[in-house]
């Protein structure tokens, strides 16, 4: 429950203006709370005088069962009316549909956005039963505080059984804050999700740099929350006949609640084309490419195959390519149709970021390179000699047609 320390309260009313549920009021100059309170924590977070405190107790089995529905945070990209869900959000709708069916519950898409008019019923085509639409000018741009507050309000008032986020920079930024505020378990970077016989969500993730897999449950409280790696689940097939019911969720958000300010953004040219996350074909270089100039052959091959070039952490650290093109543990997880690994030994930190690629070709001088273990076609040889020949072969074929 919410407790108010009247000694500390300065009656500034910031909490009152920031409460998403209108649960706080003043009576005889004293702050009071009514039954509308969902314990979302927005007031505690905005209070500058530490006058508010929430006591959270562990839920009983019956209470746990009362939490229903699989909720997916729809991370958006683009601007204005052309905003659309990121690929990982759609992948999660696909996986979420399966989980919701197993639980016999609804699949709900949670949209946090500005005031743009977009037909969110469309999310039904990807499997959503309902859309919870949270619109506010302050949600137009991502902020940790704003997104945390609104997500907490949705969770505490709707009481879902499962909440999933894409393990993107933003998802990994605010999911732990939501979890900590509501005292929820959170499993990071899941690569597999299942429902067990007790209807619990079993969350499986790599640990120790991908050397082991761990399956994790959240037995004591709800919702069970997890961030999920992009590109591990397929984008669901479209069901054109399906429409989701859109429910507008009232958002209360105060500028004072957002304590960070974006002062500058720089988008890099190379990645503003196709991001490596969405690419169908990736040609990736590693230390074996020897110098930055040699990457030109990889770029050429990538463009001939309609793909993009990427690389490993060592070549990013050499400054040969920007970090936005880094595949692996500390970079981006990719899962293209075709991944060509050039001069990459296959350190586990790299492999965890690309092992879900559908087809893998590896070229490396060292026959013992671990990359060969996961390749469909492995060429033991010098890529710097092979690639120019391959490029001209493809070029010749193009001119013949």
């Amino acid at each position: 429950m919410l407790t108010i320390d009247h000694q500390l309260c300065a009656a500034c009313k910031l909490c009152l203006n920031n409460c998403p549920f209108g649960a706080l009021y003043f009576e005889n100059d004293e702050l009071k709370v009514n039954d509308l309170c969902t314990l979302c924590g927005a007031c505690v977070n905005i209070c500058r005088f530490h006058a508010l405190h929430i006591e959270r107790k562990q839920a009983s089995q019956e209470e746990l069962a009362s939490y229903q529905g699989v909720y997916i945070w729809m991370e958006l990209e683009g601007e204005g009316t052309s905003i659309k869900p990121k690929k990982v959000a759609l992948e999660l709708l696909g996986k979420g549909r399966l989980l919701a069916d197993q639980l016999g519950q609804d699949l709900v898409a949670v949209v946090l956005a500005g005031q743009n008019q977009v037909d969110w019923q469309e999310l039904g085509r990807y499997g959503a039963d309902r859309v919870i639409l949270c619109q506010h000018d302050l949600l137009e741009t991502y902020s940790t505080d704003g997104y945390t507050q609104v997500m907490c309000a949705v969770i505490t008032s709707k009481k879902p059984a499962v909440v999933l986020y894409g393990a993107t920079p933003h998802g990994r930024d605010f999911a732990p804050r939501v979890a900590a505020r509501l005292r929820l378990g959170l499993t990071a970077d899941c690569t597999s999700l299942e429902i067990d016989e007790e209807k619990q969500l079993v969350q499986t993730r790599p640990a120790f740099g991908g050397n082991i897999m761990a399956s994790i449950i959240t037995p004591y409280n709800r919702p069970q929350t997890a961030t999920v790696r992009p590109n591990v689940f397929p984008t669901p097939p479209l069901d054109e006949t399906r429409r989701a019911v859109v429910e507008s969720f009232p958002v209360t958000l105060n500028k004072a609640a957002i304590r960070t300010r974006v002062v500058e953004t720089q988008f890099l040219d190379e990645s503003s084309q196709t991001s490596i996350e969405d690419a169908r074909v990736i040609v990736a270089g590693g230390r074996g490419c020897q110098k930055a100039a040699n990457l030109e052959a990889l770029r050429q091959l990538a463009s001939r195959l309609g793909g993009v070039m990427a690389g490993t952490r060592p070549i990013v650290e050499q400054g040969w390519i920007p970090h936005t093109l880094q595949v692996g543990q500390s970079g981006t997880t990719v899962g293209p149709e075709l991944y060509i690994a050039v001069g990459i030994s296959g350190a586990i930190q790299h492999v965890v970021g690309m092992s879900s690629s559908k087809t893998i070709i590896a070229i490396n001088k060292d026959p013992e390179a671990p990359i060969f273990k996961i390749a469909d076609l492995g060429i033991v040889g010098d890529a710097l000699e092979i690639l120019p020949i391959l490029n001209s072969l493809i070029g010749e074929q193009e001119t013949r047609q």
Partner: protein
């Protein structure tokens, strides 16, 4: 200014292997090191201290008694003193219980901190959750994945350049604040012989569960919301066609044929 840097002792993961029979980690002979992202965190802290002057850097870790090693290392790398939060009751903590314990210890031992810097993630768990969870518990704004951390000329704000998918953004927040960092422009320095000698003279404060006055059910495994039910080695991959030491031209033809066979080329 007081800067708290949270650090973690981790196994050097490139060496970790799973016993195929028991499914548990083979820990023998695996070296323990200071998590590399924590080294970057220390380096960012040292740079701020050099720019501002009159700054104290305090390294803090939760772990078993031998985690003292990474505190020594942290002090070699520039921390002025350090705190070891250690107790058997902390064992088995998930990210929440870890963050709760560390946040409690910071509040207890360094209540007047201005800035908390943590590495973006540890290379054993890779969750990247403990930083944001500490920020939430301490009621701080957070900026994650920073690669450049500077204090503005007014001295009241921090300005952080952070990595996002399409490039960079620069975010500003007022103190006190928590920042998680990755490498950026930081160059890891090897400590000098003098640094090593000096580190041994710097104090290590020990804090146990009793001092933090947290109920036992909120600590370690008992205080964790998540539970590991199974650990197993990752799946082995499919069959591979390996072509050894061919002539470069043969290899190119081989790849060409493969690309056509799989319909990546007409």
């Amino acid at each position: 200014m007081k800067i708290v840097v949270c650090v973690k002792q981790v196994p050097e993961v490139t060496n970790v292997q799973v016993d195929p029979v028991t499914g548990t980690l083979k820990r023998e002979g695996v070296k323990s090191i200071l998590n590399p992202f924590c080294e970057y965190a220390l380096d960012h802290a040292v740079r701020i201290a050099q720019a501002l002057g009159n700054t104290e850097i305090i390294a803090i870790t939760m772990g078993p008694p031998q985690a003292r090693d990474v505190l020594l290392r942290s002090m070699e790398l520039g921390a002025d003193r350090s705190i070891l939060v250690t107790d058997r009751k902390f064992a088995g903590a998930d990210t929440w219980a870890t963050a709760f314990t560390l946040a409690s210890a910071i509040r207890f031992a360094i209540p007047d901190f201005d800035l908390v810097i943590v590495g973006k993630q540890a290379i054993d768990g890779d969750t990247a959750q403990v930083g944001p969870e500490i920020a939430e518990i301490l009621g701080l704004p957070q900026i994650t994945y920073g690669i450049e951390v500077v204090v503005t000329s007014s001295g009241r704000h921090i300005r952080v350049k952070r990595e996002v998918e399409r490039g960079y953004e620069v975010i500003q927040a007022a103190f006190p604040v928590l920042v998680t960092v990755s490498k950026g422009e930081v160059v890891r320095r090897a400590p000098s012989f003098q640094d090593v000698l000096d580190a041994r003279k710097k104090p290590v404060q020990i804090i146990t569960a009793a001092e933090l006055q947290i109920p036992e059910q909120e600590l370690g495994l008992k205080g964790s919301f998540t539970q590991v039910v199974k650990v197993f080695p990752p799946m082995e991959k499919k069959s591979t066609r390996i072509v050894e030491s061919p002539e470069a031209a043969d290899a190119a033809h081989e790849i060409m044929a493969f690309l056509q066979e799989r319909h990546f080329l007409p």
